[in-house]
């Protein structure tokens, strides 16, 4: 039986052309999804991988797991809600409400990923565009990004190969692909131009390009890069984690470069988020509070600051209870930092039984968005995509779980 098209939620490409073949409610074939998406969808049928409902490490009924979680949360004095990057917009709204009700701290992975870029895009400080507008571009740059490993179908669906003016048949090249990275990645291998920077030295490279713009003599790489920019009329930069980490979240020099570019071409920046609705979280929280992450609702007021980032909260042992929604915190954090969470009760909401779920006091298994639960999400370029489930869930969706928790907290 062909169950039709669905949206894959394994990465921020949110591919909406995934064909699913089902037999007796089990997926037997997946069309168009990449290796990552297929592994994710097939993995969702692997019962050993799925999270059930646990309270104090023991398997319980849904209801008691929810009760136990609600008790832990209401008893906490400084609860921290982290995640929601792998939840629908609807669930995110409820998550924000929950944090507000608890007077807790709310953050997501964007505080150590793309938060700064998305914030500046939302504030109108950084030019951006959607994937649909890529056809205007004559230069596509992946900077510190490795799409073939992180968002495998990005080139074929949204950038170079999807470009209307891209053609293989020997005609003049209308759109070029450039990669700036520390590693000669697979994407760099197929790019028309590759600029290798040393780890942590993107800043020097940007500075050199700016020098070049000002007419000063610069090195070979910077001059070649500048040459590309000078020929371009419209350039889209996909900013990956490599850029954020190399600049240590201080983008001032990068913005200066974008500013200079703006004098003769149309630049646009799209942050390459990892989780499927990471950008959606930033949008949701920005609409609710004016900030994209690192927010505290303590004392009924909204406060924002670096002290409310997950990393700071963990480092200073500020939180006395953690609600993690759809994030594998314990795998993602430096082990030395995760060790500081010892003794802090953690509740995990996740479709999969992750390392974080394994270390949690309470586990609430969730339905897989896109496959088993619907809603809406924001793709990395800011476009809203709606998810229509094709499978009947055996778990509550994270939206339902958060709603039930809110009800129980009264």
């Amino acid at each position: 039986m062909n169950a039709g098209k669905m949206v894959c939620t394994a990465c921020s490409c949110l591919c909406d052309d995934i064909e699913i073949e089902m037999e007796n409610g089990t997926i037997t074939g997946i069309g168009n999804a990449c290796r990552k998406g297929s592994a994710f969808l097939f993995g969702s049928q692997n019962e050993k991988q799925r999270a059930g409902y646990l309270a104090k490490g023991r398997e319980v009924e849904v209801e008691s797991a929810l009760d136990a979680a609600a008790r832990l949360l209401s008893g906490a004095r400084r609860p921290l809600l982290f995640g929601l990057d792998n939840s629908t917009l609807e669930a995110q709204t409820l998550g924000i409400e929950l944090a507000r009700k608890l007077g807790g701290v709310l953050d997501d992975s964007s505080s150590f990923c793309h938060g700064r870029l998305v914030e500046d895009i939302l504030a109108g400080m950084l030019p951006t565009c959607t994937h649909e507008q890529i056809h205007d571009a004559d230069l596509i740059i992946y900077w510190g990004a490795n799409p073939h490993n992180a968002q495998p179908r990005h080139l074929s669906r949204f950038s170079l190969y999807a470009h209307r003016k891209y053609h293989e048949a020997g005609v003049k090249r209308h759109v070029s692909l450039a990669v700036v990275d520390v590693r000669e990645s697979e994407t760099a291998g197929v790019a028309h131009h590759f600029f290798r920077v040393l780890p942590g030295e993107d800043r020097d490279f940007i500075a050199a390009v700016i020098e070049g713009i000002k007419g000063k003599p610069v090195g070979k790489d910077a001059a070649e890069f500048l040459g590309l920019l000078e020929k371009s009329r419209c350039c889209v930069i996909f900013a990956g984690l490599g850029l954020t980490y190399s600049l240590d979240n201080d983008f001032s020099l990068f913005y200066e470069l974008i500013g200079h570019m703006g004098k003769w071409l149309k630049p646009a920046v799209i942050p390459m988020g990892g989780h499927y609705n990471a950008r959606g979280f930033n949008h949701s929280l920005y609409n609710a509070t004016g900030y994209v992450n690192k927010v505290s609702f303590a004392g009924g007021r909204v406060a924002h600051g670096d002290e409310f980032s997950l990393l700071e909260q963990v480092r200073s042992r500020a939180a006395d209870c953690l609600l993690v929604v759809g994030a594998d915190l314990f795998s993602a954090l430096p082990a030395s930092l995760a060790a500081l969470l010892d003794g802090v009760p953690v509740i995990t909401v996740d479709p999969f039984y992750t390392a974080t779920a394994g270390a949690s006091t309470g586990v609430l298994g969730a339905a897989l968005s896109g496959l088993e639960a619907g809603g809406t999400a924001v793709r990395m370029d800011g476009t809203v995509v709606s998810l229509a489930p094709v499978k009947t869930p055996r778990h509550l969706s994270d939206e339902q779980i958060l709603k039930r928790l809110l009800e129980k907290l009264g």
Partner: protein
Amino acid sequence: MKLIIVIYRDVFLWSEKYKKDRTDSWEDKAAFVRLAEQDLKALGISGDGKIKLSNSVGSIVVRALADSKGRSGYGFMPVSPLVNRLTSYGEGRLPNFKRIEVTAEATKENC
């Protein structure tokens, strides 16, 4: 030998996580570092030698693979909980996921 380790993403390992017959062996599969050939030589490692990476927060033993496109002094490791035993975070900065300073030595220990 002093090295700088950079974490990168690997789609094949990521997919491995969700495999049906998965035990936790995918973490072992992620236990490798890619080094420039001359660095491997300097460390006296050939074939599938093991390498011990250590710094002030921890130490791990991984397989050392040759990276023909690698640059001397830098190593690349895929994302996994394993490499996080070497990473650290200091106030006001991002964790050092993309620039981990370690000391490397050839070893006979197991991963």
